[in-house]
């Protein structure tokens, strides 16, 4: 109704003009009479009345015309017939716009507003400067240009962003009502191996450790914003040993700053050392069932992790370049090549000391420098060098140094669906210098310095949505020793091939074949081992996304 009146108002000037044009012809004589100062007679009044009457009728006729047009338009109007959330009737806003638009515009046909989709935000703005919107593009109106059914409410200030999100609640599940991501990840494997000591052939603690079924990694993961300054992460791993007893590991639990200046970030708690590509990641993200030999034998079956602190700095360069520096206690089996008393207090045949840190030299110091470049729109390269330096427990002043270099190349199609297809090539090389001392109380007759090195290189090909084929080569060279007969000091290599099907990103099924070759050394004879694994995984709940 309001719209109609506005319309009428817009049309009125035109109507009056045409009425004035008509008037002189109809009654040219009375007009001069009025202009003359002669007193008004009853006839004059009558004549005037007639004029007014005719004017009123003209206006009425025009109004009717407008009404008819309106009705016709409404019939044609799409919104009226839409079965979906109704668009409003031609709204006052639209009317206001029209009134501002120069009269004689094409009348409304298709709505250009829809309050059912968009908040009233646009509405006030539209009416506040109608001239701007109307003058250069006169054809407004018609199709609704607003829709309150799609746009909800005016953002009062832009700073109050996010539907129900706040700083302490950046990661959401179930419609943004939770403070953190919580997920459970179950990783299982059915294993067959020609070796009876699979727990020795497989070097990772979360790898299959026995023929038959294995449940080595059932993991609870939590992450979320602690407050405006910190984010928190925790991974609690439940592991069933070969006697089906449950072991619990606090694999990671740390906090991390979110808004330090100068591109700095600090992290503190229990965490994986940022050494190379694979070490900082959790087994369920791995592309193979098991740990590469070099990772398991140098950084340890559980990876290099521990309680400590880490600082990182992304350099102000045009490409991605980051320096990371961490310090950890490096004590126990998760500091494998460092202050690790070993099983039954033996490491590399030495009786180990197990002592408090004497000073800074007894911590593990872990620097890393990584750089990434885009070779093209679809190709990315990431290369890094890492180090880990500290003491070990095989002698009074025995030191360990591990150096690493890693390289990742990834191609992903510019028309990727679900992240497929892609090709990824990842390689890590490590060199370890290990001073094996005389053991506790100088009980071992010789001191040796081992120069060990190893690498793995793997290519994975996501050839079809959900399907990945992979191939990996492993080699570890352990310096031969006439004094140390530790089983882990056997040089060896391995070839692996696998095929993985991801029904979705929350589940996977993987078949892998391994061929292991263990080389002869002073104490051990050569052997060849074949293994087959069927691995499966599920993820429940909200699992935080992974880094590149």
């Amino acid at each position: 109704m309001k719209k109609m009146i506005l319309f009428a108002l817009a049309v009125l000037p035109v109507a009056t003009v045409s009425a004035q044009e008509a008037a002189p012809a109809a009654s040219s004589s009375p007009a001069p009479t009025v202009s003359n100062a002669t007193p008004a007679t009853a006839a004059d009044v009558e004549a005037l009345r007639g004029q007014v009457q005719s004017l009123v009728e003209t206006v009425k006729a025009l109004q009717q015309q407008v009404k008819d047009q309106q009705a016709a338009l409404e019939k044609a109007n799409l919104t009226g017939e839409s079965g979906l959330p109704q668009n409003p009737e031609p709204s006052p806003i639209a009317g206001a716009e029209e009134s501002a638009a120069p009269a004689g515009n094409a009348p409304p046909r298709f709505p250009t507003e829809d309050t059912s989709v968009v908040s009233s935000t646009t509405a006030p703005a539209a009416s506040s400067v109608p001239g701007v919107s109307a003058s250069p593009f006169p054809a407004s109106g018609g199709f609704p240009t607003t829709d309150t059914s799609v746009v909800t409410s005016t953002p009062e200030t832009i700073s109050s962003t996010g539907a129900g999100t706040s700083l302490t609640q950046p990661i959401t599940i179930g419609g943004g009502r939770n403070y953190m991501n919580i997920s459970l990840d179950g990783l299982f494997a059915l294993a067959y191996s020609s070796a009876r000591d699979l727990d020795h052939i497989e070097v990772g603690d979360h790898d299959p450790q026995q023929r038959g079924f294995n449940a080595r990694n059932v993991e609870l993961a939590f992450d979320g914003a602690v407050d405006p300054y910190f984010e928190g992460f925790a991974n609690i791993v439940f592991k069933l040993d070969n006697d089906n007893q449950t072991e619990v590991e606090v694999e990671e639990a740390f906090m991390q700053t979110t808004s330090l200046p100068f591109n700095l970030q600090l992290k503190a708690g229990q965490f994986f050392a940022a050494f190379g590509r694979l070490n900082p990641t959790h087994p369920h993200t791995w592309e193979f069932v098991d740990t590469p030999l070099v990772n398991g034998l140098f950084l340890g079956p559980d990876g290099l992790r521990g309680v400590g602190a880490q600082g990182s700095w992304t350099l102000p360069l045009p490409w991605y370049s980051q320096l990371i520096f961490a310090s950890q206690n490096g004590r126990g089996s998760t500091g494998f090549s460092f202050r690790n008393p070993g099983d039954d207090r033996m490491f590399f045949d030495r009786i180990t000391t197990d002592r408090e840190a004497r000073g800074l030299q007894d911590f593990v110091w872990i620097p890393r420098f990584e750089n990434s470049f885009n070779l093209s729109d679809t190709q990315t390269v990431l290369a890094g060098v890492s180090g880990a330096f500290g003491s070990n427990e095989t002698g009074a002043n025995s030191r360990t140094q591990i150096y690493g270099a890693d390289f990742l190349y990834k191609w992903k199609s510019s028309h990727a669906e679900g992240g497929f297809p892609f090709v990824k090539w990842q390689t890590e090389f490590m060199y370890r210098r290990f001073q094996a001392g005389h053991g506790a109380d100088d009980s071992f007759p010789v001191a040796e310095t081992f120069h060990d090195w190893g690498l793995y290189s793997q290519v994975t090909w996501g050839f079809k949505k959900g399907w990945v084929a992979g191939i990996r080569g492993d080699y570890v060279h352990m310096q031969d020793s006439m004094f140390t007969d530790d089983l882990d000091r056997q040089s060896r290599w391995r070839l692996s091939a696998n095929l993985t099907w991801y029904p979705t990103e929350f589940s996977k099924i993987r078949l892998q074949y391994n061929q292991d070759f263990l080389e002869e050394n002073f104490f051990l004879s050569a052997r060849e081992v074949e293994s087959i694994f069927l691995q499966w995984e599920f993820i429940l709940g909200a699992h935080g996304a992974h880094k590149f």
């Binding site: 979906l84 054809a139 799609v150 746009v151 700073s159 990431l382 979705t504």
Partner: protein
Amino acid sequence: MKKILLMLSTLITCAFTAQAKLNVVATLPDFGSLAREIGGDKVNVTVLAKPTEDSHFVDARPSFVVSLRNADALIDGGAELELGWLPPLLQNTRNPKIEIGKPGRVQASQGIHLMNVPTNVTRAAGDVHALGNPHFTVDPIIAKAIAQHIAQSFSALDPVNAAFYEGNYKKFEATINAKLQEWGTALLPFKGQHVVAYHDSWPYFAHRFGLNIDIFLEPKPGIPPSPSHLAEVIAQMRAQHIKAIIVEPFHDRRIAEKVASATGAKVVEFSQFPGGLPGTDSYVKLIDTLVSRLAAALK
């Protein structure tokens, strides 16, 4: 010495003028296109996802961290479409200017009524978005709201050019209002018709133009088409005389072709993103293309 000083001063001026432009990062090409409409030559826009790739699964490339670190503004969907790749980037970005709550952060879904919000969030239903369907920019009325939101953000960050941004928004609004007449008229003859899509990305487009895009080649969002489901779709298409199947650049077109040949329907290549189809470097051109392609297929 003077020469050196002169060079230095020109360098500094260059640096300053370069800095005068707002650095804007948009997660998706549609937001990037709107940012360009509003920002014009006063902003540098970097878009993370490619228009031709599946925006649910974008690699969190390290170079994105660099773009985000240098950003004065970040425009993201805010409706969990980028859930798989934006959070790890932001964790490593360390840029307080683009935190949620700052004027430098625009979450496009703010103020938008998302459609198809699931009452019961279960992954048994496939790749369901808890906050509702996040493919909303293809509704031009919603695009206007996002553009306005972007203009407000730019004006707050760069008050000197506020009038410029406001003016560009008004221009964009008027263009869309005018174009809506054209688009609405072009699709008016097909009102109420059913259209098949590969993935459920088009409820907002359908809503706007009175179409029913409610049959999908995917049995559930994100789940690849199965033969039994396709047989059902073919039967439905025959029964309802459906004439068009919408596919996006990253979808397996062969599957759609198969269904099309079994039903006599046409495969129509669509994209949610400017740049996803040839000749669609702006938002308006994209919708132009979508409307004309669909109208041609439905004729």
